[in-house]
Amino acid sequence: MKLFSKLYLPIILSAAFLLNACTKEENQTIDPTAQLVKLTEGYATGAATKVLVFTETSVINTGYTRFYLQLKDSASGADVTQAQVMLMPMMDMGTMKHSAPVENPASEKATDGLFQAASVFIMSSMGGSWTMTFTLKRPESGKQGSLTIPVTVTEPAKATMKSFTAADNGQKYFVALIEPSQPKIGINDFEIGVYRKATMMSFPADSTLNFTIEPEMPTMGHGSPNNVNPTHARLGHFKGKVNFTMTGFWRVHLDALHGTAVADTTQYFDIEF
């Protein structure tokens, strides 16, 4: 292996570099939305901007959903790479309305021509109708406008969205499973988004809870070794590792604590692959 890395690695690297140099032109033409699904498009009236909305899958499930926005000037058709984007999901249940946790784009600058955001749909469209409002502000013109689209949210076979009322402080929390999105045998990234319901319209990210995870195969009654409990990274995202020793139906138990005070021990995510 050492010999291999000493002798061949530089050769491979330089070969790769040469190849890369040759194909650079092609790289520029790669469409950043190639792997995405276009959900809809429309105009943010007032901002003079056409909004193309992409997601990773055509079906939007309850839980953590990433949105990718491509913005074009409605007059010139030119790509808009600078904008302040804000999301506002809204569930209309007839008698009442509520919003959901969101993650607005981290920057006013587009990455690869896209503005990435996310929303955590905390229920499916069975209980009412979801809309998503994208509010844009273009700094160069100061123009502001918004686009509202309907969103159909379905309940997946294996829930990726859980909520509980903490036993210690009575607050309601929402936990969305983000990773593993492509579970495999071995060490998997484990990532959850955690949000507290402050009001019906405000669901701030939470970093006060601690979590322990324990994977189990309910059919077999066994777990797996060397899992890493998720710890808070940023914006309510907790990252750890979950280990799957085989394919099949796994249940990852999740216990939430505030320090030593138990908040909840009843939640789990089912993962099948």
Binding site: I185, I187, T219, M220, H222, P225, M246, T247, E272
Partner: protein, 679 residues
């Protein structure tokens, strides 16, 4: 030093004679022990120099190799079922010993060790067995427990162009089992060919007292072809193929059986035919083999969840070995070998209404080995002989698939593989005493690499202790400092009868002894398992014991053989090691006035009170068995007809041996008959 050669054959007279003449002159002849398992008409040869000990444990020709080897004092078997028993030398087993077929490495494809390489050799295609212990144990591959060398029968050149054939048919009552075999040999001055085939089919056998043991049936076919071409007087080339297919082989001590198992073993060799000046008895071989193994639980009742467990082992390799006499006093034997083995095994379970559960039980990995062994013998004077043996091995292990690496990573181990450089060394002295006796003493340092299961095993269920075993990729090598001493020789003379004897005592101090240790924090994968154990190194363990054998012609027409053995073993905490046989003795007496022969065998084992609780063992009661055998053979024109019959376990004793998993009782009274026709 001790080496046993066991000869057997059901072939015709001329073939046997030529086979004996061509037995390799052994560099360790001073203490080579031959155990003769041949037919009646060979007993006239019993006084030859190569047969200083004559053993009469020649059973029923439907014996498997396991039956025959179990009669050697050094060998015992871990038994998970009546077939596929795993050999152990003085309590060493698995990765602690080498089992080589014609010098070739063959690795079982079963994670539960259902398929040791010994199953591919039938008595019909076996020429001889050597068991090398102590100082010679590592010459064919670094090992701390010794080597079992199985030499396959090979075709012989025959200037007269004769065709020889033999057929055997036998029946055993306890397993209602049939045994059929045929062998065909043709040789000319340049070409010679050998073909043989064996078919066995047994039903569930009957234990002592009458109970039928479920899941103990088996069916298999074994077939071999061999062709040899003589290039010149001293040189020949040979091609061998051996195939073995088994179906529905029961393992009553395990939760699963074998649905189908197949082995394909092929080789090309070039070899010197006659001892000559310079390098003698040299041969070089290229080989490849492939073993496929499919476990099956579909015949078992109350299976919580059906599962498939296939395994695959592929090995290719090459070696060259030879011996050189330098002057009157020195001789050197060398062996250089290399091999590459790929192992993989997986398990898929099928829960109702859920996706299948799949995992690698042996993450795909490749083991590469290259080594050099040398034995140098020095005859200082007519009384003293000294010998030094050394072997160096370089071994690498690499995980070969992403899936495999991911799994090993789950256990927290480095997935880059490992490299090991192993050294083995032994020194011995041999002092002649009286006219035909000698005392010997040797010391050795030996080491071994962990096996694939010990490194990478992934939740392998062990039915004996009820734990799932996981490997430890960074296990340390197990090593041993060993000493062996004893006395051997002959009493009597040719006229009145001559008896060979050997007394051996041995002791081994094992460093970093590898064993399963409970991992209380891990949860068992197998439903109903007691927990998880991982392979770990114990600081040390100790193994000691002795063997005695007496063997020869008491009087004309009367021959006897007797063996006695005992092994003691403990770990660093003083607890007994698992799978250590108790006191065991076998005594046989044969009366052979002419064409008729009669033989009585007495087999006795003491109670084993030193058992390893943590390995799931319990106390094993002692037992005594009596077997009676007789044979009659007579010529009919150019053919010879042989009839054999006997009763094994005459008193229908209900018993099991200490190394038998699950305390499954062994076969009860068994009446067998066998007809042999050869021309």
């Amino acid at each position: 030093m001790k080496k046993i050669i066991l000869l057997l054959g059901t072939c015709t007279g001329p073939l046997i004679l030529s086979a004996q003449q061509s037995l390799p002159a052994n560099p360790f002849t001073d203490s080579t022990r031959f155990i003769e398992l041949r037919e009646v008409h060979l007993q006239a040869k019993a006084g030859s120099s190569q047969q200083r000990l004559v053993n009469f444990y020649r059973g029923n020709a439907s014996f498997t190799l396991e039956d025959i080897m179990a009669r050697l004092p050094e060998i015992s078997f871990q038994r998970r079922g009546p077939y596929g028993m795993e050999p152990s030398i003085r309590g060493y087993t698995g990765g602690q010993i080498n089992v080589l077929i014609d010098g070739m490495r063959i690795y079982g494809a079963c994670t539960d060790k259902m398929d040791p390489p010994t199953i591919y050799i039938e008595p019909l295609n076996l020429d001889h067995v050597q068991v090398q212990t102590g100082q010679n144990g590592f010459l064919h591959g670094s090992s701390i427990g010794g080597s079992i060398l199985l030499k396959m029968a090979e075709p012989k050149h025959d200037e007269e162009g004769n065709l020889h054939a033999s057929v055997n048919s036998g029946y055993s009552s306890a397993s209602r089992g049939w045994y059929e075999s045929a062998r065909l040999h043709y040789g000319t001055g340049r070409w010679s060919f050998l073909a043989n085939g064996t078919y066995r089919k047994n039903q569930d056998y009957r234990a002592g007292g009458g109970e039928t043991i479920p899941f103990s049936a088996m069916e298999k076919v074994n077939y071999g072809f061999s062709a040899k071409y003589r290039l010149n007087e001293n040189l020949s080339v040979k091609a061998d193929f051996l195939g073995d297919d088994g179906w529905n082989i029961g393992y009553p001590a395990l939760p699963m059986d074998v649905g189908y198992a197949a082995a394909r073993i092929g080789s090309l060799s070039i070899q010197s035919e006659k001892p000559k000046q310079g390098w003698t008895n040299w041969n070089a071989k290229l080989y490849a083999n492939r073993v496929q193994h499919y476990m099956d639980d579909t015949h078992r009742p109350d299976v919580p969840m059906h599962m498939d467990m296939p395994g695959l082992s592929k090995t290719y390799g090459a070696f060259a070995e030879g011996m050189r006499q330098t002057g009157q006093r020195h001789s050197l034997r060398l062996r250089a070998d290399l091999s590459s083995t790929f192992l993989t095994a997986s398990m898929t379970m099928y829960p109702p209404n859920e996706v299948p559960m799949y995992m690698l039980t042996w993450p795909d990995h490749r083991k590469m080995q290259s080594g050099l062994g040398a034995a140098w013998t020095f005859d200082a004077d007519s009384n003293w002989r000294f010998q030094a043996n050394a072997r160096v091995d370089y071994m690498t292990h690499r995980l070969t698939s992403t899936d495999g690496k991911e799994e090993v990573a789950v256990l927290g181990y480095d997935t880059d593989g490992r490299n090991d450089l192993l050294g083995n060394l032994s020194l011995s002295a041999n002092r002649k005493l009286f006219t035909r006796s000698a005392v010997f003493m040797n010391i050795a340092y030996a080491e071994r690499v962990p096996t694939g299961s010990e490194l990478y095993g992934f939740y392998l269920f062990n039915a004996q202790d009820g734990y799932d075993y996981i490997g430890k990729a960074d296990l340390l090598r197990e090593s041993a400092i060993q000493a062996e001493t004893g006395m051997k020789g002959q009493i009597g003379n040719v006229q009145k009868g001559r008896v060979s004897y050997q007394l051996t005592g041995f002791i081994s101090y094992l460093d970093n002894y590898i064993t399963g240790i409970v991992e209380p924090d891990l949860s068992a994968m197998t439903i109903g398992a007691n927990g998880v154990k991982s392979y770990q190194n114990l600081p040390w363990a100790l193994q000691a014991g002795g063997e005695a054998s007496l063997n020869g012609e008491l009087h004309k027409q009367w021959q006897a053989a007797a063996t006695l053995r005992y092994t003691y073993a403990r770990d660093d905490q003083g607890a007994p090691l698992p799978f250590i046989p108790p006191f065991k003795s076998m005594v046989s007496l044969r009366y052979q006035p002419g064409r008729f022969s009669a033989q009585a065998e007495w087999e006795a084992a003491s109670r084993q009170e030193r058992y390893a609780i943590r390995a799931g063992e319990d106390e094993t009661p002692g037992f005594m068995l009596l077997h009676l055998r007789c044979g009659y053979s007579f010529p009919v024109s150019t053919s010879r007809i042989g009839l054999q019959a006997g009763v094994e376990n005459v008193f229908d004793t209900f018993y099991h041996e200490h190394l038998d998993w699950g305390n499954i009782p062994r076969q009860g009274r068994n009446v067998y008959m066998q007809l042999n026709l050869s021309f």
